[in-house]
């Protein structure tokens, strides 16, 4: 077991702000959609808070994007484009989480500084960060000012279409959050991954590899 610094400070700040924002957005979103069913805060305050937090997530996204665009850590998000390599690795990871982890088999993926995501994570985070989150932000902005963006909304099929896409993505994010919360408990201890996102250092099982093996090209 050795420690590896895989979560730089900007990423950790972004992550925790994003986590808090996601919880607030889900809470206020549910309050808006299901007003009357439960009323923790008023509908109006829920809408206002939802709008503000939504814009904050957009700004926070730029922090995340800026960090990765201007650092060599962007390697962690580079997709494996060769399906002959990607799919076997992906299936190995799925097998591990579905069965291997139960039997105590070692994780088939070894985390490195430039390869902190296993194939499942890499695929999921690419979709979430580069497709779903921007799309959710865009539909949110359209719904924030329906009259101001009337032409775009009309072109895209109307406010009902935009709202449906926004809600479908919200449901996907709720699913993502549930899965994420469970999967982060699957470290060598329940809170090992959570602790890593606070300190930046992840505990890696096995012998520490040589410095050459950690170079960006090795991923």
């Amino acid at each position: 077991m050795y420690k590896l610094y895989i979560h730089p400070l900007p990423v950790r700040i972004w992550h925790w702000l994003n986590a808090l924002s996601f919880l607030l957005l889900i809470f206020t979103g549910l309050q808006i959609r299901y007003a009357g069913l439960f009323d923790v805060i008023s509908f109006r305050n829920a809408v206002i808070l939802h709008n503000w937090v939504g814009f904050f997530v957009g700004a926070n996204f730029l922090l995340w994007l800026g960090f990765y665009l201007f650092s060599d850590k962007i390697k962690v998000y580079q997709p494996e484009l060769n399906p002959k390599k990607y799919f076997p690795a992906m299936f190995r990871q799925v097998y591990f989480y579905a069965y291997g982890i139960l039997r105590g088999e070692p994780n088939p993926y070894r985390v490195t500084v430039y390869g902190k995501f296993n194939p499942m994570q890499a695929m999921t985070y690419q979709i979430v960060m580069l497709l779903l989150l921007p799309l959710q932000f865009y539909t949110g902005v359209l719904l924030w000012d329906v009259t101001g963006f009337a032409a775009q909304i009309d072109m895209l099929g109307g406010v009902r279409v935009i709202s449906t896409v926004h809600v479908l993505l919200s449901i996907a994010f709720v699913g993502f959050l549930l899965s994420h919360l469970y999967l982060i408990s699957l470290g060598h201890t329940t809170f090992a991954h959570t602790k890593a996102m606070i300190t930046g250092y992840e505990d890696i099982e096995g012998e520490e590899p040589s410095a050459a093996a950690e170079a960006p090209e090795t991923r």
Binding site: D39, F43, T164
Partner: protein
């Protein structure tokens, strides 16, 4: 000073004027006499000759319709009216003096008299008449309505005064037909303000236009009228109301400002492309809307989601280009409720009035097309249409947070949460059940990696 436009006509019918006012229109409004004005105007001899007979309260005639037509023209009232500079023959130029006053009147009814005298009004009041011709009242008359008002139903030509001088509540003629609305308006926030003379609150014509009156539930004219006086309304709403502009667009003012009103959703048919959409008009002579709607609505319980789609498709197919869509609007169900406006502090500001499942305004949904006479033609729509996934296109421009949410998405959310939670719980259980196997494997690995 006399109107020179009438000089020739009057000189040709000097004698006729003696009898002209015999066919006086029915007195429909009471306006106070103004003796001072009366003294300043001097009548021509021919007009005095008319009034010699007609200024008799007992002068009247029986019409074919059985009605009694008063022929009385009060000289004093006429001199106090806005028409006091006109001669009798200016309006009653068609009268033949040879047989005027002799035998049975050729007028069959008061209504017919009013229709026939309209042309006289048109001679001078051309602009007002053009507005009137485009009004819902004129459209009703063209349809053969015996009740829709003509000029003389609101303006007694022999006593008419400026509305600015009239006491609003008593003098407005609208109450003759719209009595319930009239009574409600007298005691709402505008009516009370008028009574107390606090501010220049509008009378009926202030919002509805006296001559160009349109059906209130079509178009956006009435809202614009509200904003004409309440110029800061949009800005004031923006202070506290999220998406205020959208609310202004999709909700009629009385929905919130008449707190006790019953509300409904009005899905209005529009046709066109992009921003050039226009409210769809029912074809004159070959009405299709109700025929089609009734054909679709076999059970008579209102159009369902699929029927609405089919109906829109039929109207879309009628035109070479563009698409027929619906635009939703929240409005009060009864016109009388639009005239029960409360003071600002009592207006609805609780978002949950509309933004929650089962909210009252969403229990009643109608589909509307603008009729050829300018009045709305309606057919019921099932309220479930607003929550249907199938309405995502047909009602694509109308969505209200909370209340028109698509139910299928609610089920999907529950499925995702319950399904995932269940799956993760199964995984946790499996991990617990496999704990012995893991411990054994770890021990074996430790033993294997130990010193040999």
């Amino acid at each position: 000073m006399k109107n020179p436009a009438f000089a020739l006509r009057r000189s040709a019918s000097l004698l006729a004027a003696m009898f002209a006012l015999a066919l006086a229109l029915p007195c429909t409004q009471a306006i106070a006499q103004d003796d001072e004005d009366a003294e300043e105007i001097a009548l021509e001899e021919e007009d005095l000759a008319c009034l010699e007979c007609h200024d008799d309260p007992k002068l009247e005639t029986q019409l074919e319709s059985g009605e009694t037509l008063s022929l009385h023209i009060s000289t004093k009232a006429f001199l106090g009216s806005m028409h006091n500079e006109n001669s009798c023959a200016d309006c009653h130029y068609e009268i033949d003096i040879e047989d005027h006053g002799e035998g049975q009147s050729t007028i069959t009814s008061k209504r017919e008299l009013g229709v026939s005298m309209g042309d006289s009004c048109r001679d001078c009041h051309k602009k007002k008449y053009r507005e009137y011709d485009d009004s819902v009242h004129a459209a009703l008359i063209a349809e053969g309505s015996k009740k829709a008002p003509m000029c003389a139903d609101c303006h007694n030509p022999h006593t008419v005064k400026s509305w600015e001088l009239a006491e609003p509540e008593a003098a407005m003629p609208c109450g003759k037909c719209h009595d319930k609305i009239f009574d409600a308006a007298a005691t709402d926030v505008h009516g009370l303000a008028r009574s107390n003379k606090e501010n220049p609150a509008p009378v009926c014509s202030g919002c509805h236009k006296a001559h160009g009156v349109k059906a209130a539930s079509l178009g956006t004219g009435l809202k614009d009228t509200c904003l004409d006086c309440h110029k800061d309304a949009a800005e004031l709403h923006k202070v506290w109301l999220p998406n205020a502009e959208l609310h202004f667009e999709a909700i009629s003012c009385p929905v919130c400002h008449s707190p006790d009103a019953q509300r409904r959703i009005n899905l209005r048919l529009y046709h066109g492309t992009g921003t050039s959409q226009q409210q769809l008009l029912e074809k004159s002579g070959v009405p299709q809307f109700l025929k089609r709607a009734k054909a679709m609505d076999v059970e008579g319980e209102g159009l369902g989601d699929r029927e609405l789609i089919a109906l829109l498709k039929q109207f879309t197919n009628d035109a070479d280009d563009g698409k027929t869509v619906v635009r939703g609007r929240l409005e009060v169900t009864a016109g009388v409720d639009a005239h029960r406006l409360a003071e600002k502090s009592k207006a609805i500001s609780d978002c949950k009035t509309c933004h929650q499942a089962g909210a009252e305004p969403f229990q009643s949904v109608i589909l509307t097309i603008a009729g050829p006479d300018g009045r709305p033609i309606r057919h019921d729509v099932k309220k479930e249409v607003l929550n249907s996934l199938f309405s995502i296109d047909s009602v694509h421009g109308f969505y209200v947070l909370g209340s028109t949410r698509i139910k299928l998405l609610d089920y999907l959310l529950v499925l995702v949460v319950v399904g995932l939670s269940g799956g993760l719980l199964v995984h946790m259980t499996a991990r617990w059940l496999f704990r012995r196997a893991r411990e054994k494997r770890a021990k074996d690995a430790q033993r294997d990696s130990g010193p040999k």
